[in-house]
């Protein structure tokens, strides 16, 4: 009977399922993008090849745009016999999720093994930039193309394989000059001769440089999760709240109109001896079917949003598919839907049989 009722109004059922699906996708996409972006950041940080990362006091896990550390710290670190290479970078926000990373290519190459060039080559002049493959694809850039960033006209010198540090790179002194941070760095990477000494050295540096955020690379990448990024968790909760409200409204409207439309049928059921609980159970089961179908559609749509993001903004937003959230998203959809079914269900359950039977 539940399925027949849903099939009886296919457009309404389809729209309800779709709306619940969008609700589920909202959650899965947001969580997927959050996790994808954080994991991508961690992957690129690991790609540097460093064992220790030093960040300025007060910086957040994702924000790298300030440059308050002196460049001469590099010499200080390199004097330590345990350090094989010290390399620094200055990072400046380009708005949105994009950043420009200024680096000393020679030091960076010694540390990471260097970029793998898919086209072009290293910096040849001060206006040269390197971009990774995703940024090049998103902005449709080829070697030799010019691009305006930070009110500066740049030439694309090379396109590099993704996975190291950032997506857009220029020479360190150029970016320092452009941002008024001459001689300063946003973060410093240390590669040790013996990586097993990383933890001990981090402890030692923390004692000597209080306030600075100093982590082993393993520690740093493990910090890149939703809980440690300021406001991200709260933002996810807000979106979940909005999703529940959307589910509530959709199901409320669908079930309310269904109850009105089926007033006479409810009267028939009651005449046959159906209890209020029986009538309520029918609507609850219909709601659960809608929520279940909507959840499946929502999971499917999350693959669609990933495809869209990959096509439209491959370098900016990285969405992961998050199967571990499918159950939560479905539960949230069910909760919103059941909330929406409460009033219509109550209205149906307490319907007077005689009045319902005479309903035109």
């Amino acid at each position: 009977m539940v399925l027949e009722n849903l099939k009886h109004r296919p457009v309404r059922t389809l729209l309800s399922v779709l709306a619940i699906g969008v609700e589920v996708t909202m959650i899965l996409t947001l969580v997927g993008v959050s996790q994808g972006t954080l994991h991508e950041t961690a992957r690129r940080a690991k790609g540097v090849g460093a064992d220790i990362i030093v960040r300025p006091p007060g910086s957040s896990i994702l924000s790298l745009s300030s440059a308050p550390m002196q460049e001469k710290f590099l010499d200080f670190f390199e004097k330590d016999p345990r350090v094989a290479v010290a390399s620094g970078a200055t990072v400046n926000s380009l708005g949105g999720f994009d950043t420009m990373t200024g680096l000393d290519l020679a030091r960076f190459t010694r540390m990471s093994g260097g970029f793998r060039y898919l086209a072009g080559g290293p910096f040849a002049g001060p206006d040269d930039i390197l971009v990774d493959e995703y940024y090049a694809r998103q902005k449709k850039l080829n070697v030799g193309d010019r691009i305006e960033l930070m009110n500066h006209n740049w030439r694309v010198a090379g396109i590099v394989e993704s996975g190291k540090l950032g997506r857009i790179f220029c020479q360190l002194p150029v970016l320092q000059e452009l941002t008024g941070n001459t001689g300063k760095l946003s973060q410093i990477y240390l590669k040790l001769r013996d990586e097993s000494q990383a933890a001990a050295m981090v402890e030692e540096l923390r004692q000597r440089m209080p306030g600075y955020q100093i982590y082993t690379m393993e520690e740093f990448t493990s910090l890149l999760n939703v809980s440690n990024v300021g406001m991200l968790r709260e933002f996810i909760y807000v979106v979940i709240g909005v999703a529940v409200v959307v589910g509530f409204i959709v199901v409320f409207l669908a079930m309310y109109t269904a109850v009105l439309e089926r007033t006479r049928e409810i009267g028939i059921l009651k005449a046959l001896g159906a209890s209020p609980g029986f009538v309520l159970a029918i609507l609850v089961r219909e709601t659960l079917v809608l929520a279940a179908l909507g959840s499946v559609v929502g999971v499917g749509l999350s693959f669609g949003t990933r495809w869209v993001l990959r096509a439209a903004a491959p370098s900016t937003l990285v969405q992961e598919i998050v199967p571990e959230w499918w159950g939560y998203a479905a539960l949230i959809a069910v909760a919103g839907a059941l909330l929406g079914a409460i009033y219509p269900g109550w209205k149906a359950a307490r319907q007077d049989a005689i009045e319902a039977l005479s309903y035109e």
Partner: protein, 226 residues
Amino acid sequence: MSKPVIVEARNLRKTYHVGEVDVHALRGVDLRVEAGEFVAVVGPSGSGKSTLFHILGGLTPPTSGTALLDGQDLSKLTEAQRTELRKRKVGFVFQRYNLLPTLTAADNIEIARYIARRDGEPDPKFQEALQMLGIAHRLRHKPRAMSGGEQQRVAIARGIVNNPAVLLADEPTGNLDSENSEIVLKLLQGLNERLGQTILMITHNPEAAAYAHRIVRMRDGRVIEG
């Protein structure tokens, strides 16, 4: 030896409150229907026959008086108890058939059994009734694919599937042409005569009432004859 009484109303009254006005729909109805009887209640609009139908069907309680259905006093039952009673002791046939449009004819019958929590096959008496009703070949169809006469026959099947103490029929031919009316009335008569089904039929049509064993006439909320 007299037959057991299935329906008995004594000084049955029902008053509806419409705004600030009291409408006395039943003003002291006395009625007895014995097991196996086919009784027609006739009367003009406003005579109270529909209210009597609703009270005897357990759809609404009387304001005062006694209404016994198969030994149970409807005036003393709670709403939940009346709901329970409707599952097993009453079968309804309505003027507008009142089949569930989303279900097939078979499922419309089956849902009455499901609500009454009847498992297994319907009893042989119902199988015989189904043969009489002549709808076996239409059971997989939904109401919209059936004629009015067929729908009413399905409604009759649904009304008797739980072997009720009484089948209450409210203007069962009101929406049918004369040919289908005759078929439905003969079926009701057949169910009564061959299977012993007690039937209380409400109608304003004297020709329909003529199929019953006994005619009870109502006017202004009272039984005036029968």
